[in-house]
Subunit: 424 residues, 2 copies
């Protein structure tokens, strides 16, 4: 690496998700040099990942090369590398290929993966949705199920191929269920000859008592009613007790289904393990009020990899705006510290919760103001296009959505990673 | 499969490339029922596949679900299945899963794969470009090479990482070489800190005496000069004698290169083998003047899987317009036969040859009229957008190209199918 003539304070940011990237953006002009490390070469707009999984958007519409996003910042170096640990004593990050990287301040923004609560053996049957590859894998499974149904003559096997189970009714589960229902009801029917894709069953199973538990009660009720209006079967209060290649078991009932999607839980990245720091059941680091790791004032941790009760005493939710606020707070705290000052504790400000259910169906919980239906759907769409990075992707996503809106056509209906041979 | 009330003549088309799809389109209204079989679920616009490999376009911009393209044709059934053979005696197509399908008329439009002329062991080191997966694999290799160079401190290894060898200087080789040079010269430089991507070497190696051998001599010379003007090194008359993980050997010289791309040759699909029919060195079926397989008047074969001297006595070139003309001819012949008539032999009409070299650099050989430079480049672009299917993809590709033209930005710069761990 070329050494700068002076040797400014080195901030190492691990993870280029919403939190890490925001910290890098907000450190612009600070007397620091920055290294951003990610094991992917791209930043991913996770809130729309389910739309890649359901063939509505292309992968490149919701992902940007990290180094492209930071190209205008000569003091920022982007590393495409996997971090395997932290030597907090020596203030070094350990990389998988044996390299190490010294830091003055470390920001851990390493995110989370889906988790199976002690049932990791379910993963092959019920894949989750966190990466672009997860999304193209799900897309392949969903589309291949319809293809196989088209060729299946046994009614029982055909029914299993046309049954889609989504486990977990948070925003991702609700959005997946709604979009698969739309796909089956509106996009696919004219393309198939032997099956009526409108007969596909989409079953959303939730262990808790309601869908969208993070929203107000009446919005949950509205969301459930809306899902049912587009033929999603909603099953509440029933934990899934078995997943296999043939289906799921809940409440003692076996449901034959060839496609199962896991949207029920996440586990934090191993950041807590790297540091031997206290963590909760989901392995999220328990951080100090200033988002530093206990005993390590030079290590910040933000986003889905941490848990902190900084929302009027409640835990901060694992959503993009929360990670961004934490990234912004960390950047500000680093600046203030370098100037010899001190910052107060982090406070989360909740702007609102949004979830799309289907075409012209969405819910928005702004706290005092609650919106539903078409108005919420339009605001949901405009907000998501606004939060995409760059005019190029905004135009592209707007064009894709326009086509879905007007023609019910989803152009990313590609079965990749294998021919019919591999896929079946 | 639901049986139609009557039992019309059944045309089975294997392969939904340019030829097979055109045959299906042109049989509209004929007294037939049609089954289109493909082992991929999508039709691929292969002439622009190199743009996916070089991060200029997204996969969904050049691929369409086959059954979507045929959705308005109730007499057409699309099967997502792999054909493993033909029983010409029983007039049946054999599918991989053991199913069989009876035909009255069979159209084999199964295309070609890249071929290594007896050096199949080179494939892992020098992948070719025929499918969407090939393209995303190449894209990953090219982008990962730059990423690894950014982290490599050994000058010799870094040089090997920044050396891109393309073997074969037909249109695909020329277009790949030109676009990789553009990527290195114009798109990537601001994003990297430790390497100057402009120092990347792009080496185009051709065994024959000139680039674009299918074009007129002066256009070949112009293409070579244009490639050299954008810093592509052109090596002519030197067959590659070795490919390995470290580079290539040609003319007794070893060139260290971590990225090698094969654009040197194709081999037809096993259609000739299925039928025990006569084939040329590249395994292309030798068909009758009416495109039927010798001894099998009910089996047509078209496109890259056949060879026929129907271009004023010269072999028909393996390009999209040729496959389409053959598809159209076959559809017409089937109609005429069903009406009790006879058609004359197939004649290929060559509209012209086009190749893009770089920004504002292209060559077009219309026979009498030859174009080069910016005018050829604009015609090339407009022609390709025109030949895409549907206004949606035309808009999308136009938007992608506008961004490349104005900002040199390629938005599909995604390394997928593996994290930094897998990719390195």
């Amino acid at each position: 690496m070329t050494a700068a003539p002076t040797n400014p304070h080195h901030v190492v940011i691990v993870g280029a998700g919403f939190g890490g990237l925001q910290a890098a953006f907000d450190l612009a002009g600070a007397p620091v040099r920055i290294t951003v490390i990610d094991r992917r070469n791209h930043h991913l707009f996770q809130p729309l990942l389910y739309q890649v999984a359901t063939a509505s958007l292309a992968t490149s519409e919701i992902a940007w090369p990290v180094r492209y996003l930071l190209r205008g910042r000569p003091e920022v170096t982007t590393l495409f590398a996997t971090v395997t640990g932290v030597d907090a004593q020596a203030k070094r990050v350990l990389l998988e290929d044996g390299d190490t990287l010294s830091y003055d301040t470390l920001v851990l923004a390493t995110g989370a993966r889906h988790a199976y609560f002690g049932h990791d053996e379910w993963e092959p049957f019920a894949p989750g949705l966190k990466t672009l590859e997860d999304a193209t894998t799900l897309r392949r499974r969903i589309l291949v199920a319809f293809e196989r149904a088209e060729r299946e003559s046994d009614p029982k096997r055909r029914a299993a191929l046309l049954t889609f189970v989504i486990i977990g009714a948070g925003p991702t589960g609700v959005e997946l269920a709604g979009t698969i229902a739309e796909l089956a009801q509106h996009t696919l029917p004219p393309d198939f000859r032997n099956v009526d894709t409108r007969k596909a069953r989409v079953v959303l199973i939730e262990a808790g008592p309601r869908v969208l538990a993070g929203f107000a009660d009446d919005l949950s009720a509205y969301a459930q009613k809306s899902l049912e209006s587009i033929d999603v079967e909603v099953v509440l209060g029933k934990p899934v007790t078995e997943c296999s290649a043939d289906g799921v078991v809940f409440d003692g009932t076996r449901l034959e289904a060839k496609t199962i999607i896991w949207a029920a839980g996440v586990r934090a990245s191993p950041a807590a393990e790297w540091l031997g720091a206290p963590a909760d059941r989901a392995e999220r680091l328990q951080v100090e009020p200033d988002l530093t790791v206990p005993g390590h004032p030079d290590i910040f941790a933000i986003g889905d990899t941490v848990t902190i009760a900084a929302w009027n005493g409640q835990p901060v939710p694992g959503i993009a705006p929360a990670a961004k606020q934490q990234g912004r707070y960390v950047a500000q705290t680093i600046r203030t510290r370098l100037a010899g000052g001190k910052t107060g504790p982090f406070h989360y400000k909740h702007a609102g919760s949004l979830a799309q259910i289907g075409k012209r169906l969405a819910v928005i919980d702004f706290g005092r103001i609650k919106l539903r239906g078409a108005i919420a759907w339009w605001i949901w769409g405009i907000a998501h296009i606004y939060f995409l990075i760059g005019i190029r992707n905004r135009l592209s996503v707007a064009l894709s959505w326009l086509w879905i809106y007007v023609r019910d056509q989803r152009t990313a209906r590609l079965i990749t990673q294998g021919s019919s041979k591999v896929a079946r």
